[in-house]
C-alpha cells in the first residue's frame, strides 16, 4: 500500500529492503497509534474535574519489566531480520565478469569500461561522462572511487547507495530486473554543484547491450569519451595506492 511512496524497485535485492521498510512501517505505525490513542484517552479521562483527586502511585514493577522486555524483543527480532539482507547487499560480492569503474569528481560520474582486453588502466579503456550502459539480469560490479571529495552513488530504483571516498576503492554490485533509463544522483553534499550532479544508467536487454557495446566499446569505435581521462584523476584518488 505504500508503493506510491517508494519509487519502483527494479533491482534483485530491492525487495529485501522494501520488505523490511514495510515491516518497520507497520510495527512503528501500530506502536504510534497505540501510544497516541492511550495518551489521548488518558488526557480526556483524567482531565481536571472538580472533586477528583489523582491516584497516588509510584509505579508498578511488573509493568516496568513488561515494557522493557517487549520492545527489546521486537528490536532484537528486527535486528536479526535486518542482518541477512545487509550481509547479502554489502558483505558479499556475487561472481561476475561485468566490472565497471566509476570515479566521481566535482560534479560528474566518470564511468570507465575496461575495453576489449578486459583490463583497466590500458589504452583501450573507454570512459563516459554521466552515462552508464549495462545489460539487464546481469550482476554488475562497480568499483567506486573519487578523485576529490566524498560523493555518494545513489540509484533510487535500485535501492542502492554507497559513498565514494577519495583514497579508497569500494566494490559494490547490483542486478537490474527491468530495462529502462534510471537516474543516478549524488547523495552526499559535494560542493556548490552538488545539486544537479547526476548521471543516467541505461539498462538494456542483452541484444541491445551487445549492439551498444559493439558500437561504443571496441577499439577505434565512434564513442565520445569523456574529455578528462585517467591523467587527471591522480590528485586525490591515487593517494592510497
Amino acid at each position: 500500500m505504500l508503493n506510491w511512496w517508494l519509487p519502483e524497485n527494479v533491482s534483485t535485492y530491492g525487495h529485501d529492503i522494501d520488505w523490511l521498510f514495510h515491516l518497520i512501517y507497520w510495527i512503528t505505525g501500530i506502536t504510534f497509534i497505540l501510544v497516541a490513542v492511550t495518551m489521548i484517552a488518558f488526557l480526556v479521562m483524567y482531565r481536571d474535574r472538580p472533586g477528583r483527586r489523582a491516584r497516588y502511585t509510584h509505579g508498578n514493577t511488573p509493568l516496568e519489566i513488561a515494557w522493557t522486555i517487549v520492545p527489546a524483543l521486537i528490536l532484537v527480532v528486527l535486528t536479526f531480520l535486518s542482518l541477512p539482507a545487509w550481509s547479502r547487499i554489502k558483505m558479499t560480492m556475487p561472481q561476475t565478469d561485468f566490472v565497471l569503474q566509476v570515479t566521481a569528481k566535482q560534479f560528474n560520474w566518470q564511468v570507465t569500461y575496461p575495453g576489449p582486453d578486459g583490463k583497466f588502466g590500458t589504452e583501450d579503456d573507454k570512459t563516459f561522462l554521466d552515462e552508464m550502459h549495462v545489460p539487464v539480469n546481469k550482476v554488475v560490479r562497480v568499483n567506486l572511487k573519487s578523485q576529490d571529495v566524498i560523493h555518494s552513488f545513489f540509484v533510487p530504483q535500485f535501492r542502492m547507495k554507497q559513498d565514494a571516498v577519495p583514497g579508497r576503492e569500494i566494490g559494490q554490485w547490483f542486478e537490474v530486473t527491468k530495462p529502462g533509463k534510471y537516474e543516478l544522483p549524488c547523495a552526499e553534499l559535494c560542493g556548490f554543484g552538488h545539486s544537479g550532479m547526476k548521471g543516467w544508467i541505461y539498462v538494456h536487454t542483452a541484444e541491445e547491450y551487445a549492439k551498444w557495446a559493439a558500437e561504443n566499446l571496441l577499439a577505434g569505435s565512434g564513442a565520445a569519451p569523456a574529455e578528462e581521462k585517467k591523467s587527471e584523476s591522480t590528485m586525490e584518488g591515487k593517494a592510497k595506492s
Partner: protein, 585 residues
C-alpha cells in the same frame, strides 16, 4: 555534611553580601550569579534562534520555488536580485543547523536550564565555581559572535554542511569558502571550551553541594538529566574540539589529517565527528526529557511513574550513546561488519527511550490533568518524541538505511527529535520557570495562541518530509526540479514551505508574550503551580544566594503529589514529615 554547618555557612554568605551592593556591570553583565548567567544563556539562545529560523525560511523558499527571488533578500543579495545561488544556499542550511544546534538548543537547554535549575533544585546557593560559570557564558557568547562574523567575510560562511565532511571542508578550493570555514572551526573550538567549563561546574555542584537530605535519588529528574548531560558534554565535546582543531590545521597549516593527497584519511573525520555527534544528540534531548518529567507530575498532580526506571534509563542512554555512533556511517565505506555491530547497539538504545515514554504515559494514568501552557508543551514533547524515536528505527535497520540515508527522511527524523523534542521541551521549561526566573507570570491566552499553531504547523512542516524522503529526495540539494524522479512530488515541497512560514509566524505570540510578561506580567507568587521542588521555596525571583539565612532541608522525593499524608494535593520536599514529628513525642 550536617545541617547546622550548612546553616552557619549560609549565614556567613548572607552577612557577607549584605555589606555591599553589586554594581550594574557585576549584576547584569559580568555576573557570577547562576540565575543571571541562566538568563544570559536564555537571551543568547533566543536571539540566535531568530537568525537560525530566518535561515531556515530562506532554505525552504528555495526548495519550494527554486531560483526565484527570496522576499526581503534583494537588499542583501544585490547581484542576483535576491535569488539564491547554490553556494549561498549551501551556506544557509549549513549555518541554520550549526546555529540551531550549538547556539540555540545547547545554550537554552544545557546553559539556561542547567544554570537555573541545578543550584535551585538541589538547594545550593550557587554553582561550585561561580567565576568559571561566568567565564563559561562569556566564552560561549564570544564563540557565537565569532560564528556570526563569518557571514561578513569574503567567500561567505562555511558551506560544507553542519557535519563539515572532509575533504570538502578541508580544502578551500572545493567549496570556494576560505575564511568562513576557518571561522566555523575557531568558533566551535571556543564553544567547546565554554561548554567544558559549564560541564565541570554542573557535575561538581551536583556531587558536592546538595542540601541536607537531598540524596541522589531524591533529586528531581531534570537535575538527573542535566547531570547526565554534563557528563556527556565533558566527554564528547573535547572530541569535536580536537577534530575542528585538526581540520583547521589541515586548512591553514598544511597538515594532512584528513586529506588523502597527503596520506590522510577522510573517514577519520567522520569517526571523530560522530563519536561526538551521537552523544550530542542526547545532549540536545536529555534536558528536554528531564523538563517533561518535571512538568508532567506537577500538572497531572501525581507522582512520576517509575522514578528509578526514569533515572536508570537516563544513565542507560548515556552509556549506550557512545557505542551507536557508527549508524551515521553505514554507507560511508566503513567496514560493513562494523555496521552490523552498530545495528545491534542502535536497536538496543531504543529500549530506554521506550521505557521513558511508557512511564510518561503511566504518569498521566489516573492523574488530575490540568492543561496549562507548560503542560501542553510538555505533552507535545512526549508525542513528538515518540514519532522521532519510532522513525529512528528505520535507520537502525541497515538495509533500510541504505535507501533512506541522506534523504529527507533523515531531515524529518532529526527535526522531530530536536524541534518536536528539544524545542517543545525548551518552550515547556520557559513557560514553567518563567515566574521563578523573572518574577512575573506569562500571559496564558498568548501562550495558547503560541502553542496550538506551533504544534499544528510543526507537524504540517515536518511530517511530509518523511514522504518526500521515502520518495527519494536527497537532503542538501539546491533544486529538486533538476531530477526527473522527484518532479512528481514537488507540490509537497511547496506545501512544506507554506507550513514552515506558518511555523515561523506562530513564534510571534511567543516573542510578544515573553517581552510583555518580562515588564508587565502579573507578579508571580512564591509557588504558582503548587510544586514540590526546592526552587519554589525561594522568592520569585530568588535573590543572590537564593535563600535567606537557612538552606532548605529535604525530607522526601520531589514528586509527592496527591499523597495521603497531606491535605493538599502536594507535599513539598522541605515539609517535615508528620509521622516522624509525632513519633518523637
Amino acid at each position: 555534611m550536617s545541617a547546622p554547618s550548612a546553616t552557619a555557612h549560609g549565614h556567613a554568605h548572607v552577612a557577607h553580601t549584605g555589606h555591599h551592593e553589586l554594581g550594574f556591570i557585576r549584576t547584569y553583565v559580568f555576573s557570577t550569579d547562576h540565575k543571571m548567567i541562566a538568563r544570559q544563556f536564555l537571551f543568547l539562545g533566543l536571539f540566535m534562534m531568530v537568525i537560525g529560523g530566518l535561515l531556515a525560511m530562506v532554505v525552504r523558499w528555495q526548495l519550494a520555488w527554486p531560483e526565484t527571488p527570496v522576499p526581503g533578500l534583494s537588499g542583501i543579495l544585490k547581484e542576483t536580485q535576491g535569488i539564491l545561488e547554490p553556494s549561498t544556499y549551501n551556506m544557509a542550511f549549513t549555518m541554520h543547523a550549526t546555529i540551531m544546534i550549538f547556539f540555540v538548543i545547547m545554550p537554552i537547554l544545557a546553559g539556561a536550564f542547567g544554570n537555573f535549575c541545578i543550584p535551585l533544585m538541589i538547594g545550593a546557593r550557587d554553582m561550585a565555581f561561580p567565576f568559571l560559570n561566568m567565564l563559561s557564558f562569556w566564552v560561549t557568547g564570544s564563540a557565537g559572535l565569532i560564528m556570526l562574523s563569518g557571514f561578513f567575510v569574503e567567500g561567505g560562511h562555511a558551506a560544507a554542511g553542519w557535519t563539515s565532511y572532509v575533504p570538502l571542508s578541508a580544502v578551500p578550493q572545493y567549496t570556494g569558502v576560505n575564511w568562513g570555514q576557518n571561522i566555523w572551526c575557531i568558533s566551535l573550538f571556543i564553544m567547546g571550551i565554554g561548554s567544558m567549563m559549564g560541564a565541570i561546574n554542573y557535575i561538581t555542584t551536583i556531587i558536592n553541594m546538595r542540601a541536607p537530605g537531598m540524596r541522589l535519588f531524591r533529586m528531581p529528574l531534570v537535575v538527573w538529566s542535566l547531570f547526565i548531560t554534563a557528563i556527556l558534554l565533558l566527554l564528547a565535546l573535547p572530541v569535536l574540539t580536537s577534530g575542528v582543531a585538526m581540520l583547521l590545521f589541515d586548512r591553514t597549516l598544511g597538515t594532512s589529517w584528513f586529506r588523502p593527497s597527503g596520506g590522510g584519511e577522510p573517514l577519520l573525520w567522520q569517526h571523530l565527528f560522530w563519536y561526538f555527534g551521537h552523544p550530542e544528540v542526547y545532549i540536545l534531548i536529555l534536558p528536554a526529557m528531564g523538563i517533561a518529567s518535571e512538568i508532567l507530575p506537577v500538572f497531572a498532580r501525581k507522582p512520576i511513574f517509575g522514578y528509578h526506571a526514569m533515572a536508570f534509563s537516563l544513565i542507560g542512554i548515556a552509556f549506550l550513546s557512545w557505542i551507536v555512533y557508527g549508524h551515521h556511517m553505514f554507507v560511508s565505506g566503513m567496514n560493513p561488519a562494523l555496521g552490523m555491530a552498530f545495528t545491534v547497539t542502535t536497536m538496543i538504545i531504543a529500549v530506554p527511550s521506550a521505557i521513558k515514554t511508557f512511564n510518561w504515559l503511566g504518569t498521566l494514568w489516573g492523574g488530575r490533568i490540568i492543561f496549562t501552557v507548560p503542560m501542553l508543551n510538555a505533552l507535545a514533547f512526549v508525542s513528538m518524541f515518540v514519532i522521532g524515536g519510532l522513525s529512528g528505527i528505520f535507520m537502525a535497520s541497515t538495509p533500510v538505511d541504505i535507501y533512506i540515508q541522506d534523504t529527507y527522511f533523515i531531515v524529518a527524523h532529526i527535526h522531530y527529535v530536536v524541534f518536536g523534542g528539544s524545542i517543545f521541551g525548551a518552550f515547556a521549561g520557559i513557560y514553567y520557570w518563567f515566574p521563578k526566573m523573572f518574577g512575573r507570570m506569562t500571559n496564558t491566552a498568548l501562550g495558547y495562541v503560541h502553542f496550538w499553531p506551533t504544534f499544528v504547523f510543526f507537524n504540517l512542516t515536518f511530517f511530509p518530509m518523511h514522504i518526500i524522503g521515502v520518495g527519494g529526495q536527497m537532503r542538501r540539494i539546491y533544486n529538486p526540479l533538476q531530477y526527473e524522479f522527484l518532479q512528481h512530488q514537488q507540490h509537497w515541497n511547496v506545501f512544506i514551505t507554506i507550513s514552515a512560514i506558518g511555523l515561523g509566524l506562530a513564534q510571534i505570540p511567543f516573542v510578544v508574550n515573553f517581552f510583555w510578561s518580562l515588564f508587565a506580567g502579573k507578579k508571580a507568587p512564591l509557588n504558582p503551580w503548587n510544586s514540590n521542588t526546592l526552587e519554589w521555596t525561594a522568592p520569585s525571583p530568588p535573590p543572590h544566594l537564593n535563600w535567606g539565612p537557612t538552606l532548605p532541608t529535604v525530607y522526601r522525593g520531589p514528586y509527592e503529589y496527591s499523597s495521603p499524608e497531606a491535605k493538599e494535593d502536594f507535599l513539598p520536599q522541605t515539609q517535615p514529615p508528620v509521622r516522624a514529628a509525632a513519633a518523637r513525642h
